[in-house]
């Protein structure tokens, strides 16, 4: 599974992209974020406040109950500020 980080999530995690293999019990976006937060202090800091983390799976906005599967592209980023 590919995980992408943008804006300040990228800065805090320390990388823009990583390939991860979460345990079999991780089946939803919420579960994935819980697991990612355990990967280190940068990840924990980036994911401390879930209210300001948006998630896209395969480039579509999704909520915490959305399923995640091996091979998915999961992107984590703050609310967008373009335009």
């Amino acid at each position: 599974m590919k995980v992408l980080y943008f804006a300040w999530l990228r800065s805090r995690v320390g990388t823009g992209a990583e390939d991860v293999t979460p345990p079999a019990g991780v089946t939803t976006v919420g579960g994935l974020l819980d697991w990612l937060a355990t990967r280190g202090p940068g990840h924990a800091a980036a994911l401390a406040n879930r209210d300001v983390v948006r998630v896209a799976v395969n480039q579509e906005y999704v909520g915490p109950d959305h399923p995640v599967r091996p091979g998915d592209e999961v992107a984590l980023f703050p609310p967008v500020t373009g335009g």
Binding site: A56, A75, P78, P79, V80, T81, G82, G83
Partner: protein
């Protein structure tokens, strides 16, 4: 049409190409977003626009398609830049052409409102106190939400 690019764009040339030669067009509306030199009370040296390549194009295309479903448009265009931009530089252009001015004006506004809350761009501002990521504005969500109810 949508374009995501580092380079500047020429508003006059873009508008001239929009629905060029289509004599059923009665109105063209456009909005150009520019880098301001202030964020609240703090002066800005420059800003860097980061985006999510792939998803950006996908969302902009969806937003444009939705505008074309809601209004009868002869043409529509979104050009959004990324990378480092200084105050006064153009960030984004949205333009719509229609037989009727209402459709052009409404859809132009829809595109910029919707883009602001849907397209995956993030602004990093350079200030005297260092670089900081711009926080999303509630008013942008409010502006976008008025289109959901319709």
């Amino acid at each position: 049409m949508i374009r995501v690019q580092r380079e500047d764009f020429d508003v006059g040339a873009e508008l001239a190409r929009l629905a060029e030669g289509d004599r059923a067009v009665g109105g063209v509306a456009c909005f150009v977003g520019l880098v301001r030199d202030m964020a609240g009370a703090a002066p800005i040296g420059a800003m860097t626009l980061e985006h999510y390549p792939g998803m950006t194009e996908k969302k902009l295309a969806e937003i444009e398609a939705e505008a074309n479903r809601r209004w009868d448009l002869a043409a529509s265009l979104i050009v959004h830049r990324y990378g480092r931009l200084e105050p006064g530089e153009r960030i984004v252009l949205v333009a719509t052409a229609s037989a009727h001015r209402d459709a052009a004006l409404e859809s132009c506004r829809f595109l910029i409102d919707w883009l602001k809350t849907q397209a995956p761009f993030w602004k990093l501002e350079e200030t005297r106190d260092g670089a900081r990521w711009v926080a999303a504005r509630d008013s942008d969500d409010t502006a976008a939400e008025r289109w959901v109810a319709e």
